[in-house]
Symmetry: C2
């Protein structure tokens, strides 16, 4: 990998030199020859003024592809520095899913300028797609697919692909529809290439079509790509009419975003869509402070419990020394279970109906973990810390009980949340910590009260 990474940096260096020496023709040829993702990366490294200038020397077709790979801030900058005609070209060349993403993130005045420069058809299509609910299959699909009638031959199909394929997001999976756009079947270019040119599409198409509907959750749709190894998936409306396709690259983005969101939620962060380095300090603060506040205030419970046992603690200050260890072990045990369950729920590997199986397994794991931890801890307390048997017994019994409750609550809480329509990841570590802290302190003082004269 290293050799290539160095090479890409070197390539960027060479391009910057061409730009400095104003050898624009050479620069244009090099950029047009590059993969659009790399060209976009390069252009985004340039200072504002040069960015627009270099973008404008790209060839017409390449420009829209490069544009689609850029970040929103740079896209806005480009839009603000091209002519209406150039803007119209970009908009018409963009796949509708990319155009919709753009419209959703641009400021209103820029959106209205973009829309003004789009053709009527494009404008209507964008507006239609903007109406699909957030996080639905409709919101990530695109309209550029190849469709056939069922009675044409492979040869005719290839001619149709040649005629209309240029602007399609994928040509490898084609869709067979009725006159009123109902989805009949799917045929891949692979099927067609492996059949004679005279074969009729209806004979080689797969009529057992796996599809999504516009209102399906986009995460469920993305998981279907993982299950079926598709390149594209058709999306139909309520009437069964084919309205769009989701392609595998968008499914990858969804899977990655959902994983990031889960990680953020587990870490008590409110997810934002902006990349970290592009998010301002205030925005980052706003994403992080709510949970910190909620969790700080909810720690009142633990304070109350400790205050309740004030006299006991002043008699046995040694008990205080183990509070952090007990709380941390409880927190760690609980988040092991909750993280496992949340991830498995996200991947669709466990369902609510598995709750008893999961809880039973976690119970056994919890008892094993609790016994191991308390055995090690007992030895440590007796031979290293010399706390005396009674305190050691109190701490170790609390440890077993805490690990047990932490793991059981840690696995059931996200499953129940998922079932009643809450977000399992939000129910994770942070809330869990407060619950487990409270439970473990109560157990601790109860057990201490049983064994010690407090």
């Amino acid at each position: 990998m290293d050799t290539r990474t160095v090479t890409m940096d070197e390539v960027f260096e060479e391009l910057r030199e061409l730009l400095e020496k104003k050898r624009m023709k050479e620069l244009k040829d090099r950029l047009d020859d590059m993969n659009e993702a790399d060209a976009a990366l390069f252009i985004q490294t340039l200072p504002e003024k040069e960015m627009a200038m270099v973008f404008r020397i790209l060839s017409k077709e390449h420009a829209a592809e490069v544009f689609a790979c850029m970040e929103i801030d740079e896209q806005e900058l480009i839009i603000n520095s091209v002519t209406d005609k150039e803007l119209a070209n970009i908009i018409e060349e963009l796949y509708v899913d990319d155009a919709v993403d753009l419209m959703e993130e641009l400021p209103a005045n820029v959106v209205s300028r973009v829309m003004k420069n789009a053709t009527k058809e494009t404008r209507e299509l964008i507006n239609q797609f903007l109406n699909y609910p957030e996080n639905s299959a409709g919101s990530i699909m695109t309209a550029e697919f190849v469709d056939f009638k069922k009675d044409i031959t492979v040869k005719e199909a290839f001619e149709r692909i040649r005629a209309i394929g240029e602007d399609k997001e994928t040509i490898y999976t084609c869709y067979v529809t009725t006159k009123d756009r109902k989805l009949l079947g799917v045929v891949t270019v692979r099927d067609m290439l492996l059949s004679p040119y005279e074969a009729v599409i209806s004979d080689i198409m797969d009529d057992n079509v796996i599809y999504a509907t516009t209102t399906d959750d986009r995460e469920t749709v993305a998981q279907m790509f993982k299950k079926y190894s598709f390149i594209a998936l058709p999306v139909v409306d309520k009437e069964g009419r084919l309205v769009g396709i989701v392609t595998v690259d968008d499914a990858i983005d969804v899977l990655q975003e959902e994983a990031t969101e889960d990680i953020e939620k587990m870490a008590a962060i409110i997810p934002t869509e902006k990349p970290y380095l592009k998010t301002g300090v205030i925005e980052t603060w706003r994403a992080r402070i709510p949970w910190l506040l909620i969790l700080m205030v909810s720690a009142t419970f633990t304070s109350m419990i400790i205050n309740n046992y004030e006299t006991a603690l002043s008699k046995f200050v040694i008990l205080t020394a183990f509070i952090p260890m007990l709380m941390d072990t409880g927190g760690n045990s609980g988040s092991q279970s909750s993280a496992t369950v949340i991830r498995n729920l996200s991947l669709g590997d466990i369902k609510f109906s598995d709750i008893f199986r999961v809880t039973w397994k976690e119970t056994k794991v919890a008892l094993l973990c609790g016994l191991t931890l308390s055995a090690v801890n007992f030895a440590k307390l007796m031979f290293l810390d010399h706390t005396g048997v009674t305190v050691a017994v109190v701490v170790c019994l609390t440890l077993i009980a805490t690990v047990f409750f932490a793991k059981v609550v840690g696995c059931t809480l996200p499953m129940v949340a998922h079932k009643i329509g809450f977000d399992p990841a939000v129910m994770a570590s942070p809330i869990l910590t407060t619950i487990v802290d409270t439970i473990s302190l109560v157990i601790y003082f109860r057990i201490a009260g049983f064994f010690l004269p407090i």
Copy 2:
């Protein structure tokens, strides 16, 4: 989604009925017509005996596809119940990446039976692929790709695809190689379909090939799919010879597995590859107990600090009441930063060279968060808890300092770990908690000592 899910359950019900009524011909037709992933799911729901029986009625080509979609336990069961001839058929039909995965997980005696039934070529290919390092591009690539010489025409290329395409994992991206298998260029079926049949491959191929080498990290390779929206990526050996391709479905699996691993590591779990519900209690215990033990023992530091201030705490038991709140807030603040940085490192969105930018940003966010939290907490302590000004000041100053240290350590620790070749995710929440707990207790008692007569 719901309608379809119900339908799939109903379909399985119908299939089970056909099986009960021994209408095997109908069952076979239905299964052969189904997507292989669904057929595999259905077969895996059956009791052991019926599983092998139903698998054996599948048509020859479909059988291998369905087999590739099954879980390892069921694959082993199938292997143990088919004849040598049937086994040979499965092995020859499997893509080499799937065969390699299988060999890596099967018990040794089963592996040797499988290898005995493979042809010499397949055996050699599997052995070659088994030698690539774990988590390398070589370990996830497959050998079934289409390659051309550069001087053939599109028409000839299509003929070659027709001749050899049946067994290839993808035919959509084809590779142009020299006589000694050096990679010259890439040409997609899309390029070919949009060119005249007489066009020569060397004129339409892209010679600016983006490729991986066999020893590249599989995660880096998977990230390339995200960046470039590829369907397949060529993999070359040290001499630049094309030895395999990675396909997008494998890239998705890698991205998902890496995200799961990161989540597990952040939750103090040692990652395992087995699905949760298939992992035994002892195995789960083994994945979880090491970190629990390490972190429990490392909490000795916090106990030592508290013991050090024993007299102070017996005089001001109220100070004890805020220990859980301070520790939890520190832990939450730190894991917000570390989770963000770890995920961004994984996605390639931040690099070590960003460390100053990141630390500076986290410093500002930390101060903002610390100020907000201590303002709210001060009000709460004064007007709700009536602790008196001095205690409130001590707690709030500690809060600001704790949040500051937690966030700064939380962002630098994973970045430094990443730089020196350690796993950033392992440096995350769990280790961080211990460090932050220790720091925050020391600060707490220092500040308390300054304001209170302890």
